[in-house]
């Protein structure tokens, strides 16, 4: 039995009352789900709220769950819808409050500490360049990349979750990959052209 079936089986067992099965499932997917949400909404507080909302929906439907697809597809499908619902709520609030929901997040909510500009140097230039490039992608391209990387999903599953055709999903992923690779290559190139003395660590 592969990992896909194991996750589905764990969910079915949880539906029958086996709470330990949920714990295994949760441990396996919590990090990926959180990173998907955090990098989609770019606001840790909002990401935490959505994280709880997604799991609460999973828990609510445990008795009706049917293992018709990979558990990750099921989980990220819920996450996708929670993110869209949240965006709509922000748009409604923006209409009432006069701020731009698509604008940059407020400074205090740009991301967790390791993604803040003042701390980014600690985490390596290439890593931050990649995450910065990811943050700059259009939302649908970023989502396609995150569903692939964090959810481990294939192009067909990404298409199903985002309600687009397979070719559209492929195109989004292709653009995302091209931009991210070019950001990485640029970082490598800059590092190679730095004077040797600045690249050497002090003894």
């Amino acid at each position: 039995m592969d990992a896909i079936d194991r996750d589905g089986e764990l969910m079915l067992r949880y539906g029958c009352g086996d709470v330990a099965a949920f714990e295994k499932l949760y441990e396996r997917h919590k990090g990926a789900l959180y990173r998907y949400l955090l990098r989609q909404v770019r606001d840790p507080v909002l990401a935490s709220d959505l994280f709880q909302e997604v799991w609460s929906r999973v828990i609510a439907v445990r008795n009706r769950y049917e293992a018709r697809a990979k558990f990750a597809t099921f989980l990220f499908h819920i996450a996708h819808h929670c993110t869209i619902d949240q965006h709509r709520r922000r748009r409604t609030a923006a209409a009432a409050g006069g701020f731009d929901p698509d604008g940059p997040p407020p400074p205090e909510a740009e991301g967790p500490e390791h993604e803040r500009p003042d701390r980014i140097a600690e985490y390596g230039e290439q890593r931050s360049a990649l995450l910065a490039a990811l943050a700059q992608l259009p939302p649908e391209q970023r989502e396609a990349f995150l569903l692939r990387e964090e959810g481990g999903l294939g192009v067909e599953e990404i298409a199903r979750i985002t309600h687009v055709g397979v070719e559209t999903a492929k195109s989004r992923l292709r653009y995302a990959v091209r931009k991210l690779r070019s950001a990485l290559a640029e970082t490598d190139s800059n590092a190679a052209h730095q004077p040797l003395v600045t690249r050497l660590r002090p003894l």
Binding site: E23, S48, S56, E149, L180, R181
Partner: protein, 150 residues
């Protein structure tokens, strides 16, 4: 004839272009603990933990009670009982080397009669109840042929 260059998406999906590994090397934040606690509470995981703690507390309490009972028996702090009713005797009378179902009924009845004959009425009655729990068709009272005091 030359093959067309491999599509960059296919290379990426095969994990051959290093982008996935670069992403995996990037920071991998975890959900905040407060969120984790709420999800666990929703899922019932905290109830399981509390249940385990409750069980452990119950086992500990049982152990302490048993220890206290043994100590009080050993030190004789309980009020004096008639010779046949003393806790030590009851314990000895009830102790059997084998499960009740495996005991020889004739020998068991003989033991009950013996207890009765020695004046240990409460112990005899307790043994009789145990005998009846295993063998159907008993009455609650000790049968007359075992009641040697009559």
């Amino acid at each position: 004839m030359t093959l067309p260059p491999e599509d960059e998406l296919e290379r990426y999906l095969r994990g051959a272009d290093g982008l996935s590994s670069a992403y995996r090397r990037a920071a991998r934040p975890s959900p905040p603990q407060a969120s984790e606690r709420r999800v666990r509470a929703l899922a019932g995981l905290d109830r399981v933990r509390r249940g385990v703690r409750r069980d452990l507390a119950a086992y500990a309490a049982c152990g302490l009670l048993a220890l206290a009972a043994l100590l009080s028996i050993g030190s004789g702090t309980r009020p004096a009982s008639p010779p046949g009713e003393s806790p030590q005797f009851m314990h000895a009378a009830l102790r059997t080397g084998a499960p009740d179902r495996a005991r020889d009924p004739s020998a068991w009845l003989g033991r009950i009669a013996e207890l009765r004959a020695q004046g240990h009425t409460a112990a005899a009655a307790a043994e009789w109840r145990r005998f009846c729990a295993v063998h159907a068709g008993c009455r609650d009272e000790l049968p007359g042929h075992l009641d040697l005091s009559r």
